[in-house]
Symmetry: C2
Subunit: 336 residues, 2 copies
């Protein structure tokens, strides 16, 4: 790999995306993207009795489907890089504990899919092995219990609050050639602009996306129109507009090629109010259910996938701390 | 790098350990190792008003000292790889949010220091950059509140329970040559032997250490006596003996070269009862305060550093789940 700036390395061996899978919950299956996922649960319990075990089961099934598509046994990846939103990342730990494959746990909140792909692609580029699988997901019910209120309270949502996606994604990265490829990685730094409203994550995370995307364009010498499409993870409508405005001030116009997975995931699934998705599983499931299939079909050739994560906890918020955020961007391209 | 087995890669460019720092709490400063740490806090509050902020301040100071020793500004490492035990890893996030350096968050529980060094060393070996800093730590008071009971309850400890170390470590890995070097990495898989007693982490984690060490010796073709010293992270007395027995059954005798950082950290600091350390900060502070200085002084030439982590959470334990564990081993050597 070759470092082209403080945040960005370009990959010389360009690991390929050899397989991907997305498993989601009932509500996520009801939108326009619904038919693109490998599996949609009927009841979000995934045949388990607790929400946390349901989340693990979802992740486990997603990883299994991805391995099957890659024609690998669950024990065969040289490493699984995974994490989730639950305290101590028990979603992924319990999902993957019987795989018998080397495991590296990561925590990047909703940026986890981009972080996993970044680390995995860089390891493979450096000669680490043949296959590395990046896995992540989130579950609405576990996140509500842990971050907000028990579902039984029936709390109301504020206008800027997002909905944690019940969904998961798994990406198999391989040294063997194939399309698409991971061609570059921009690792973000933590951004904290002092926002404390945990019901407005889009605003808290947009500055992190801004810093990473600005660095990516500057360091690669690319303009936004180099890419057919640019996706952020889960900024929602508020964060989407903030990011667009911040970049425009720098002369970087994203235009109609810019989409946010949090805006896309529930499109068509809403009741009377428009809702936006968040959580590790949001951009992970959109990446694996929609973006990568579009690339493989040749309808998208060059994609920038930028996932953001909010790095606070209920404890830090109760202690009146602000919300630090991070964003990692992955350049995925069809051309070799 | 060159893969020599399912778990192990040997590093060809052998990144060096260019600097290290350890900052600990009051009790950790009272043992035989007390004088080896860079900074010992007088009251474990590190001049902050909440325990969580104290933990962040400790980590921040530790990272700063490490950067200063490496003659780098906090913004200059090509990446910081860090994590801790707190929900959503807020210990490290808030400690490092103003560094202005690219950040990758990891979660490996008490194996975090080994995981950070593993990822960092492999990235540098593959050409990622010049300097990567691995940082982690833990705090007794935040861990008690989060995992067990508020300190004010004055709960009694069971005989096998360990004491979360208030301590932190930071290791600067550099492409530039110097001693010692990271020469190999064995990434563990998750081991779960069904143990559910969260007051006996040593027993829950020893099988993970066994699997990783057995794989390391098998895949490298090395015998335990290749190393001057072998350190596990925080198995305590119970786990230490289990690991020794398990490896002996495989014909691998560790002998007197085997030490556990959890046994070492409070040696000489006890009151009437012998206590053993645990937590990310346990092996991180012993590595940076004792092991690496011993290597630089030439008294240890070849070290195997194997840190274990228990991957459960209070929620998974309340749901009667077992305790999965993981262990990563790092080969650190003075010879080029």
């Amino acid at each position: 790999m070759k470092r082209v700036g403080k945040h960005t390395v370009m990959l010389e061996n360009r690991p390929s995306v050899s397989a991907y899978a997305a498993v989601v919950g009932k509500k996520e299956g009801e939108g326009k993207l619904g038919s693109c996922f490998d599996l949609v649960s009927e009841d979000d319990y995934f045949s388990k009795t607790t929400w946390e075990q349901a989340e693990s089961e979802m992740l486990s099934r997603c990883f299994s489907i991805c391995c099957k598509k890659a024609e690998l046994l669950p024990s065969e990846p040289d490493c699984i890089i995974a994490g989730d939103l639950l305290n101590q990342c028990i979603g992924t730990t319990f999902a993957l504990k019987d795989t018998n494959a080397p495991y590296l746990g990561i925590y990047g909140a909703c940026s986890t899919m981009a972080e996993g792909i970044a680390i995995g692609a860089m390891l493979l580029d450096g000669g680490f092995g043949e296959n590395v699988c990046a896995v992540t997901g989130s579950h609405f019910a576990t996140a509500e219990r842990q971050y907000r209120f028990p579902l039984e309270y029936g709390s109301c949502r504020t206008p800027t609050a997002q909905n944690t996606v019940t969904g998961s994604g798994a990406v198999m990265l391989s040294r063997e050639k194939g399309c698409p490829h991971v061609t570059g990685v921009s690792i973000g730094k933590i951004a904290d602009t002092g926002i404390k409203d945990t019901c407005n994550m889009g605003a808290a995370m947009a500055p992190a996306a801004f810093m990473t995307l600005k660095a990516h364009f500057l360091e690669t010498g690319r303009e936004p129109d180099y890419y057919d499409a640019i996706f952020t993870g889960d900024l929602g409508a508020v964060g989407h507009d903030i990011l667009e405005a911040l970049l425009e001030e720098e002369g970087l116009k994203l235009g109609t090629r810019y989409h946010d997975c949090g805006v896309m995931i529930y499109d068509g699934a809403e009741g009377k109010d428009r809702i936006f998705g968040s959580g590790c599983g949001c951009c992970a499931s959109v990446l694996c259910g929609h973006i990568l299939p579009e690339m493989r079909a040749g309808r998208l050739k060059r994609v920038l996938f930028a996932a953001t994560g909010a790095l606070m906890s209920p404890t830090s918020s109760m202690q009146k701390q602000s919300i630090p955020a991070v964003c990692h961007a992955i350049s995925i391209e069809n051309e070799v």
